[in-house]
């Protein structure tokens, strides 16, 4: 029992994943700054930001519903759970339970849903525009994302248990080492970009159009919780992709190297693209990306 709490709250759950996520966020800011000929913040900047937000007043807009304050907590709890499941599985693949991949996929949708609920209940027209954009975006990227994960399941002999997917890769080589694996990995990276709300898919909080959109009414603690949720997602999403596609060798140093490589890739995508319009994003996900994912599934079925 104590071990479960330790796992959930300290390692590899909340405390650990939040720290890694905030450091990853700093890498994001630093790399972005260097690309843009700026200096960038010191490594502790994101921690200071969170601490500062905790000290700020929490303003609840008139007309907001109780879900306005509940949804950040909902999002955070579910992302911590994902971080815990993945962290434990990486260290002890045998401890994973049957069907945990499905659980992780469900839990990963919850932060987006929490953002939609929170924004819808904040009684602000800009937030509701942001919420509707986030909703459309979720509809867009979930289909190709799940298709790309089906490729992994096919390649791992039909297993939906993360531990056995890992074991399968240790025995037979990474899922990435095949045509279908590479295609599915590319699709998954682009879907991850959208899940993380990075440019070109940050239209739900486009600051130049709708002034942070979904987060416009949040301040103080709830905003800090959302920021933490985003930070933990920045840790868990690349980790999930590495486990599923690139999981042959997961010794700590190799894992860090793989994680950093994936992180820098999405930061580069973020900094070399303008923001898409929501209709363009939806067309993009349901058109070429879904087509790619379906091709990957067919290739995987053919054993390529």
């Amino acid at each position: 029992m104590i071990k479960i709490f330790f796992n959930y709250l300290i390692f590899p759950g909340f405390l650990f994943s939040a720290c890694v996520g905030l450091i990853a966020g700093w890498i994001d800011r630093k790399v972005t700054a260097r690309i843009q000929w700026r200096v960038g913040p010191p490594w502790y900047q994101n921690f200071v930001d969170i601490v500062k937000l905790l000290g700020k007043e929490t303003i609840v807009p008139a007309g907001a519903k109780i879900t306005f304050l509940l949804s950040p907590v909902l999002g955070l709890l579910s992302t911590i759970l994902v971080a815990t499941i993945l962290g434990v599985t990486v260290r002890l693949p045998l401890e994973s339970f049957a069907g945990d991949l499905i659980v992780v996929l469900y839990l990963l949708i919850i932060p987006a849903i929490a953002i939609i609920i929170g924004a819808s209940s904040s009684h602000n027209p800009l937030a509701s525009v942001g919420a509707s954009r986030e909703m459309k975006l979720v509809l867009g990227y979930e289909l190709p994302f799940i298709l790309s994960i089906i490729v992994v399941i096919i390649k791992s002999a039909g297993s939906i248990q993360i531990g056995s997917i890992l074991n399968h890769q240790i025995n037979f080589g990474s899922n990435l080492a095949s045509f279908s694996g590479i295609l599915a990995f590319l699709v998954a990276i682009i879907c991850m970009q959208a899940k993380l709300g990075f440019v070109p898919f940050d239209m739900s909080e486009a600051e130049q159009e709708i002034m942070a959109g979904v987060f416009i009414e949040y301040s103080g603690l709830p905003l800090a919780i959302f920021k933490l949720t985003k930070a933990i997602l920045l840790y868990t999403m690349p980790l999930l992709l590495i486990i599923l596609f690139w999981g042959r060798d997961l010794t700590p140093l190799v894992l860090i190297a793989k994680y950093t490589a994936l992180l820098v890739t999405i930061i580069l995508i973020k900094n070399t693209n303008p923001r898409l319009r929501i209709d363009q994003a939806l067309r993009f996900f349901w058109g070429p990306i879904t087509a790619l994912a379906i091709i990957a599934v067919i290739l995987a079925l053919l054993g390529l």
Partner: protein, 397 residues
């Protein structure tokens, strides 16, 4: 969603760096109507100008806008020279042209960066502004100031361009050219930028004529107007260059016009530096006769117009200014309506609005939002006040 939602852009909004207010009426994501409210920056420059003497006004109009800070004085001195029939030394004309074209380069790079920022492409923003920095350094080297250059003077310019500065300026322009090539390539070849900008915020040629837009906004809609060609001033008739005209009228065309104008500006500066004669830079004007004069220049945003009337004293009795954004901002009414909310952000910015240039005063009733005072009412108010004052001091009207 079928009901209309009001999305406010302004009075303070991260989209634009000056206070302005666009009320967007939105159905879902589609903009169905727009109200444009400006006037938050009204400073009464025209009235203020009547209380300054002619030399001070040059510095006053320079402060109308921080970006066109040489266009306004340039137009004003043109108006004064038209009024007093002053012959300006040739070297001064070339120096004026060089400064005005450098301003166009820095202004267009500034817009390019902002446009990148507005479509969420912050890398373009930072890069464009980085390449703008050497131009500002050149301004500092030549004039001593990065933004308010204070170069214009009735009858000439206030500072000469030194011979040793010319080679540094030429080298800066040589270094800028690859950067402009890069931006041109980045905009023309990037499919995502094309997807965001092409076919968006279209202002057709007829609409552009109807709304009387000026500058790059008009040239992107296929209208060949440019004060520099149509009514040459400065040294523009002594160098060869082209007016850039695009036909599409969308934001992509506006971007291309501005990027291609960078090449023309660089070429104009180079020719001016080569052709610049030696000699005086100031006609040493002593008296301003009574009369009236107009001066207009092609500011980076379009035609900037100044009218000055003098009654023989040392102050203007009337100074009328029309900045280009005044015409361009209104065209958003057709360009932004019908697009999506995402497009509205870049469409509103695509005319390169400069609100502080263009502010007008209106007085509204607090409760009904009705205009209770327009320009004519204010003039009448002012006349009544003058009459009252005259009665008090016993002066015959």
């Amino acid at each position: 969603m079928s009901h209309k939602v009001l999305i406010p852009i302004g009075p303070y909004h991260p989209l634009q760096d000056e206070p302005e207010f666009f009320r967007l009426y939105v159905e879902g994501e589609r903009v169905v109507d727009i109200d444009i409210v400006i006037g938050y920056l009204h400073r009464g420059i025209e009235k203020l100008s009547e209380s300054k003497h002619f030399d001070q006004v040059t510095f006053l109009v320079e402060r109308i806008c921080g970006i066109c800070s040489t266009s306004h004085p340039f137009a004003y001195v043109n108006a004064m020279e038209d009024l007093a029939k002053i012959e300006v030394p040739e070297r001064a004309l070339f120096i004026r042209t060089i400064i005005a074209e450098m301003e166009r380069i820095h202004s267009h790079l500034l817009w390019l960066g902002l446009a990148g920022h507005f479509i969420g492409y912050n890398t373009v923003w930072m890069w464009a502004w980085r390449y703008r920095e050497p131009i500002l350094d050149m301004f500092e080297m030549i004039t001593g100031n990065r933004n308010h250059y204070a170069m214009m003077k009735i009858g000439g310019v206030r500072r000469d361009i030194k011979d040793e500065d010319i080679s540094i300026l030429k080298k800066t322009l040589d270094d800028l050219l690859p950067a402009v090539d890069m931006f041109k390539g980045a905009v023309m070849d990037d499919p995502v930028i094309k997807a965001r900008l092409k076919g968006i915020g279209i202002l057709t040629k007829q609409q552009a004529i109807d709304w009387a837009v000026v500058g790059p906004t008009a040239r992107a809609s296929g209208i060949n107007i440019d004060v520099r060609k149509d009514d040459p001033y400065g040294a523009y008739d002594k160098v060869s260059w082209n007016v850039i005209v695009e036909e599409d009228g969308d934001i992509f065309a506006k971007t291309i016009v501005r990027i291609l104008e960078l090449y023309e500006s660089i070429s104009i500066i180079r020719q001016c530096l080569d052709k610049m004669p030696k000699g005086e830079i100031d006609a040493n004007v002593k008296d301003i006769p009574s009369g009236e004069g107009i001066g207009h220049v092609e500011a980076p945003r379009g035609e900037c117009f100044h009218y000055v009337r003098s009654d023989g004293t040392n102050r203007p009795v009337r100074h009328k200014i029309r900045a280009p954004s005044y015409m361009n901002v209104a065209s958003n009414k057709v360009a932004a309506v019908g697009g999506t909310l995402s497009d509205a952000a870049i469409t509103l910015a695509a005319v390169d609005p400069c609100y502080c240039c263009t502010e007008r005063l209106i007085v509204l009733d607090k409760h009904s939002d009705k205009k209770i005072m327009n320009g004519w009412d204010l003039i009448k108010l002012s006349q009544e006040k003058t009459e009252k004052l005259k009665k008090i001091i016993g002066c015959k009207s």
